[in-house]
C-alpha cells in the first residue's frame, strides 16, 4: 500500500473513531451536564476559599482555570476509555482492523473537542466570577488550543495505559496529573500574559505546549499499538 493511501486510511479511520466518541457524548451529554458544572463549581469554591478577594482572584485566575480544566479532563478521559471497556468493546475495536494510530488520533481528537467545550464554559465562569479581562486575544486562543491538544494527546496515551488495569479509576489521575504538571505551568503562564496579569513571554509558553503536544503525539502513535493489544 502506498504511503499516501496508508495515511488517508489512518485519518479516515481516526475520523470514524472521533465521530463515534463525539456521538456517544452527544447522546449521553456527560461533559456538558456533569463535567463542565463540576469545573465551574471548582472555580466558585476557590473564589469562596479566597474570600472573594478580587485582587487575589485576578492574580490566581489563570492557574485556577487550568486546574479546573485538568480535573475535568481526567473525568472526560476516564469516560472515553470506560466506554471501550464496557460490553467487550475493546475486543471489537481490536477486531475492527483499525490501525492503532487511527484509534489514538481519533480518541485524542474527540477528547480535544470535548475539552474545548469544557474550556469555553470555564472561561465564561472565569469572566463572571473572577472578572478577568483579555489583553491579547490571539495569545489566549492559541494557548487554549495548545493546552487542549497537549491534554488530549497525553490523556489518550495515559488513558489507554490505565485502561487495562482493574484500579484504573484511581490510577489515571495518579499517573496523568504529575505528567501534565508542566502543561499546567505553561498554560497558566501563557494565560497570565494573555490576560495582562504578567508581561511574561506568553508565546514562548504556548510554543512549549505545542512541543509537548508533538512529543506526546509521537509517543502515542508509537506506544498505542502495544497498549491496545495488551490492555
Amino acid at each position: 500500500m502506498a504511503a499516501g493511501s496508508w495515511g488517508t486510511v489512518v485519518w479516515r479511520d481516526a475520523l470514524l473513531v472521533a465521530g463515534k466518541d463525539l456521538r456517544i457524548e452527544l447522546r449521553a451529554r456527560v461533559t456538558i451536564t456533569q463535567v463542565a458544572p463540576l469545573g465551574v463549581l471548582i472555580l466558585v469554591v476557590f473564589a469562596f476559599a479566597f474570600n472573594a478577594n478580587a485582587v487575589l482572584l485576578a492574580q490566581g485566575a489563570a492557574g485556577l482555570y487550568w486546574v479546573a480544566v485538568m480535573f475535568g479532563a481526567v473525568l472526560v478521559i476516564q469516560r472515553a476509555f470506560d466506554v471501550e471497556s464496557d460490553d467487550g468493546n475493546q475486543d471489537a475495536l481490536r477486531l475492527s482492523g483499525f490501525h492503532p494510530g487511527s484509534i489514538f488520533l481519533g480518541k485524542a481528537m474527540a477528547l480535544a473537542v470535548q475539552l474545548l467545550v469544557l474550556q469555553t464554559v470555564l472561561w465564561v465562569g472565569l469572566v463572571v466570577f473572577f472578572d478577568v479581562g483579555v489583553a491579547d486575544w490571539p495569545l489566549l486562543g492559541c494557548a487554549g488550543l495548545a493546552g487542549t491538544s497537549t491534554i488530549a494527546v497525553c490523556g489518550t496515551l495515559y488513558g489507554a495505559l490505565a485502561a487495562g488495569v482493574s484500579v484504573r479509576d484511581t490510577l489515571l489521575p495518579l499517573l496523568l496529573l504529575p505528567v501534565l504538571a508542566p502543561a499546567l505551568l505553561a498554560g497558566t503562564r501563557a494565560f497570565e500574559a494573555a490576560t495582562g496579569v504578567t508581561t511574561d513571554a506568553g508565546w514562548n509558553w504556548t510554543g512549549l505546549l505545542f512541543v509537548m503536544t508533538a512529543v506526546y503525539t509521537v509517543a502515542g502513535l508509537a506506544a498505542f499499538g502495544p497498549l491496545v493489544e495488551d490492555g
Binding site: 466506554v83 460490553d87 467487550g88 468493546n89 475486543d91 481490536r94 475492527s96 482492523g97
Partner: protein
C-alpha cells in the same frame, strides 16, 4: 479444500495460566464446527486465539493463510467474532452503532438495512440507545453488526444466549446461509441438540486441548 484454521500444538497463555495447552485443530472453508467441552475446557480461549485476541506463544497458528504469531491484525479484518459480550456502546442509538460498525468495514446503508432485516430487528428500535434494549434485542443488534462485517470466518461463543425461540431460529439460518456462501463457522454452545443440528462437525475440548473430533449428519 482450503485450510481456514491450522493450529498445531498451539499454546496460549491467559496471564501465566495456559489457556490452550497444545491445541490441534484443522478447519476447512465452509465447515460448521461446534466446539464442546465442560467449563474451562478452552472453548472461549480457542475462539479468542483464532480471532487473534489471545496471543499464541508456541506451536503453529495459521488462520486464513496468515501466520497469527507474525501478524494478528491482518487476520482480524476477515474475522467476525461474537463472544459473551455484545460489543455495543450503551449510549449510542442502534442506528448510530450500526453505522459506525458498517463504516469501519466500508459497508453502506443498504447493507445495514438488510442486516437489520435478516435479524428481524424492527425499525422502531433504530433511535433507541442500545442500553435500553432487552438482552435478546441486544444480541440481535450484535448479530446484525456481524452480518454487516461480511466475515470469511465466523467465531461465536454461546451465540444462542439471550435469544428467544424465533431469534435462535434466525441465528441458525444465518449460520447456515453464511456457510453455504463459503464462510467458515466455528462456535461453542452448551445447547447441544440445537447446535448439533447446525454443525457438520463436533470438536471436543478438555484441558486446553482437542480431545475428540467427529462428523455429524
Amino acid at each position: 479444500m482450503t485450510c481456514v484454521i491450522g493450529f498445531e500444538g498451539a499454546v496460549a497463555l491467559m496471564g501465566r495460566f495456559p489457556a490452550l495447552a497444545g491445541a490441534d485443530l484443522m478447519v476447512s472453508a465452509g465447515e460448521r464446527v461446534l466446539l464442546q467441552g465442560p467449563n474451562g475446557a478452552g472453548k472461549t480461549s480457542l475462539l479468542r486465539a483464532v480471532a487473534g485476541l489471545l496471543p499464541v506463544v508456541a506451536g503453529t497458528a495459521e488462520v486464513l493463510g496468515q501466520d497469527l504469531r507474525a501478524d494478528r491484525r491482518g487476520v482480524r479484518r476477515h474475522v467476525g467474532m461474537l463472544g459473551h459480550d455484545n460489543h455495543l456502546y450503551a449510549d449510542l442509538w442502534v442506528r448510530d452503532h450500526m453505522r459506525f460498525r458498517a463504516a469501519a468495514v466500508g459497508a453502506d446503508a443498504q447493507e445495514v438495512a438488510r442486516a437489520m432485516e435478516l435479524v428481524e430487528l424492527p425499525s422502531r428500535l433504530w433511535r433507541v440507545p442500545t442500553r435500553r434494549l432487552s438482552a435478546g434485542q441486544r444480541r440481535r443488534v450484535a448479530l446484525a453488526a456481524l452480518v454487516v462485517r461480511r466475515p470469511r470466518l465466523w467465531l461465536l461463543d454461546e451465540p444462542h444466549a439471550g435469544l428467544d425461540a424465533r431469534g435462535r431460529d434466525v441465528l441458525d439460518n444465518l449460520l447456515l446461509e453464511a456457510s453455504s456462501a463459503g464462510a467458515t463457522v466455528v462456535f461453542a454452545s452448551h445447547e447441544v441438540e440445537r447446535a448439533q443440528a447446525v454443525a457438520d462437525r463436533v470438536v471436543d475440548l478438555g484441558g486446553g486441548r482437542v480431545v475428540g473430533d467427529r462428523r455429524v449428519a
